[in-house]
């Protein structure tokens, strides 16, 4: 198996019994742990305390929890003020509302002001399912990665989300973290390396590079498995949990080796991880690419599985894209 030992993933990666958990739960656990060890950590939430998993922190440290009501613009400003006074605020809502409706406040009061605010946005992507297109945030990476001074994270599973939460608190400056509503496979372990700004090569390969972020990294692993088994195509899989600053070195090294890159994300193709990768490759090592993501359209109601299938973000779609790139080479 070409899964890298150093990635320290779980043993039975493709077993039916794999544990699933939403990435937002990892945030809740990480925040609670931070609360206990750092009394300057503060949590804010805009009337979504349970769904954003801010609840455990709010119950354990009520004096450090601020209920904001349904007011995301004010939340961003108040968080910036709390940071101004020397604290480390984590502000949580759904991604469609924050940064969906407070981008200006995040830009001016947080990013331009270098405020030490951690922006936590759950229910990102298609996986809110039945709630429909209004609640499916598919543009947030584009909005956030265009802002200077901001770190942009999309952890691949709940365990990584927990570690990303703790790493975000240690980072001096604003951080955006994108999380999912629905449960997804937990495939990293507490021994898996995690560092903001460093992409992890999960599997080494030579024919094509698959770069993903968020829970769909698991689809990338599945796709690599299928490519090897069915088509004898050797795929390298990279977890780019940090979209900004992008780990250019790791991505360039892999792209130069394989000469073909597929990106996968639960986000519009416009301006997302794929765009970030393309910017780097175009400048330093032009490489044929395929972009797996939302094809410039709004979503609709349905189960997450149905939606990912309909809009083309599953392992099968990655396989198809990878094969077409490899065929082009020949």
């Amino acid at each position: 198996m070409p899964i890298r030992e150093a990635a320290q993933l779980i043993r039975n990666l493709f077993g039916k019994s794999i544990t699933t958990e939403p990435t937002r739960s990892g945030y809740g656990e990480g925040l609670l742990a931070l609360g206990a060890e750092n009394e300057r950590v503060v949590a804010l939430c805009a009337d979504l305390t349970e769904s954003t998993r801010t609840e455990d922190f709010a119950q354990a440290f009520p004096e450090r929890f601020i209920e904001m009501g349904v007011a995301e613009q004010n939340m961003a400003g108040v968080a910036a003020g709390v940071a101004h006074a020397g604290y480390i605020p984590f502000m949580a809502s759904y991604a469609v509302f924050s940064p969906g409706r407070n981008w200006d406040q995040i830009r001016v009061s947080i990013c331009y002001s270098h405020a030490n605010v951690k922006i936590i946005s759950t229910h990102a992507g298609l996986n809110v399912g039945p709630d429909g297109a209004t609640h499916q945030a598919l543009e947030d990476i584009a909005m956030m990665r265009s802002l200077p001074n901001l770190v942009v994270l999309a952890p691949a599973d709940a365990r990584e989300a927990r570690r990303a939460t703790i790493a975000a608190a240690a980072h001096d400056g604003p951080v955006y973290m994108r999380l999912a509503r629905s449960a997804s496979p937990v495939f990293t372990t507490s021994r898996s390396p995690f560092k903001i700004g460093r992409a992890e090569v999960l599997q080494t390969g030579s024919d094509v590079t698959i770069i993903g972020c968020g829970p769909l990294v698991y689809e990338a692993l599945l796709a690599a498995h299928m490519l090897q088994k069915k088509y004898r195509i050797s795929a390298e899989v990279i977890n780019s949990h940090t979209i900004k600053p992008l780990d250019e070195k790791t991505i360039l090294k892999s792209a130069k080796k394989t000469g073909a890159v597929v990106t996968i994300e639960e986000h519009q193709v416009t301006g997302g991880l794929g765009g970030a990768v393309a910017e780097v490759l175009a400048a330093h090592a032009p490489t044929p690419m395929r972009f797996i993501g939302m094809p410039d359209t709004f979503g609709e109601s349905g189960t997450p599985e149905e939606l990912l299938k309909k809009y083309g973000m599953t392992a099968d779609h990655v396989v198809k894209a990878a094969r077409s790139l490899v065929n082009e080479k020949e």
């Binding site: 004096e63 450090r64 009501g69 108040v78 003020g81 101004h84 020397g86 605020p89 001016v108 270098h114």
Partner: protein
């Protein structure tokens, strides 16, 4: 050592007059910027930095300082002038306003110069920021420091301000003083025609704030009002300051056309000569 304050109304009026002159010179040199609001608020800024706030220009990061947050960021020439007058940075810095590499940006940028406590311009943002600072000071730091937030009537077209107003009342932020420059002008015309706000004071009262009205160009009233509000407990305070835009320069006074433009050289010379002849209040007991 904190900055020494004064109750001397004449001295405060003189400060306001110096601030106005700095505004005219810096805006003329910049060649762009907002004249009317800056001039109208010179008396309030002179009072805050020289009579009201606990602060120390030598220690701009002093933990227990009162904070001034300028939410109506476009009137920053008055802030920069007041800071320079108080000794936060050399007055000659004022002539670099809006120029490449200057610490005095066209709209304030947090930390760009000593005493510049916030980034502001896009309206509404400083009000929320002030509430966040006030919340942390009151509940986390248990500090008695106050946060003076300078807003404007036009800014109250923005929904964010009203979100912040709900928040401040809920958490009883009695360490917040929101000063609203009620000069009744904004870019497209008078505030009454662009988007009426009256009954303005009643709106804040209905939001559970304590509201005070004051003639923002009468130093004696300004000083008395800031003294009075110190007794308020359990509610955030709003001071609606009626001001004359362009105050002190006759050809600018009350004219919304001067909201967003600077004087050219000739106009600046006229304005400065007018300001140099200004008389202060008669000395009373």
């Amino acid at each position: 050592m904190q900055y020494s304050l004064t109750d001397d109304i004449i001295a405060l009026e003189k400060k306001a007059n110096s601030i106005r002159k700095h505004i005219i010179i810096s805006l003329e040199k910049a060649g762009s910027g907002h004249s009317a609001g800056a001039l109208g608020m010179a008396d309030v800024f002179a009072a805050l930095y020289n009579n009201v706030m606990r602060h120390d220009p030598k220690r701009p990061q002093w933990k227990d300082r009162d904070r001034l947050i300028l939410s109506a960021g476009h009137i920053c020439p008055v802030w920069y002038a007041a800071l320079a007058e108080a000794g936060y940075f050399p007055k000659r810095e004022l002539w670099s306003l809006r120029k490449l590499g200057s610490p005095l940006q066209g709209h304030p940028h947090l930390g760009s110069a000593p005493g510049v406590e916030n980034t502001g311009g896009p309206l509404g943002q400083g009000v929320s920021l002030a509430m966040g600072i006030a919340y942390a000071l009151k509940y986390f730091e248990k500090s008695d420091a106050r946060v003076y937030c300078i807003s404007s009537d036009g800014e109250h077209n923005e929904g964010q301000v009203w979100e912040a107003a709900l928040f401040a009342a809920k958490y009883k932020l009695d360490n917040v003083v929101l000063v609203i420059d009620r000069n009744n002008i904004q870019i497209d015309g008078t505030s009454d025609t662009v988007m009426p706000l009256e009954p303005f004071a009643k709106k804040y009262q209905a939001f559970n704030w304590r509201v005070f009205g004051v003639n923002g160009n009468n130093m004696k009233s300004v000083v008395a009002t800031f003294k009075k509000i110190r007794t308020v407990n359990g509610k955030p305070v709003c001071v609606i300051a009626q001001t004359i835009p362009g105050k002190g320069v006759s050809f600018m006074e009350g004219k919304y056309e001067w909201h967003g433009k600077p004087p050219h050289a000739e106009e600046a010379a006229m304005a400065l000569s007018e300001l140099s002849k200004k008389r202060t209040s008669k000395k009373t007991s």
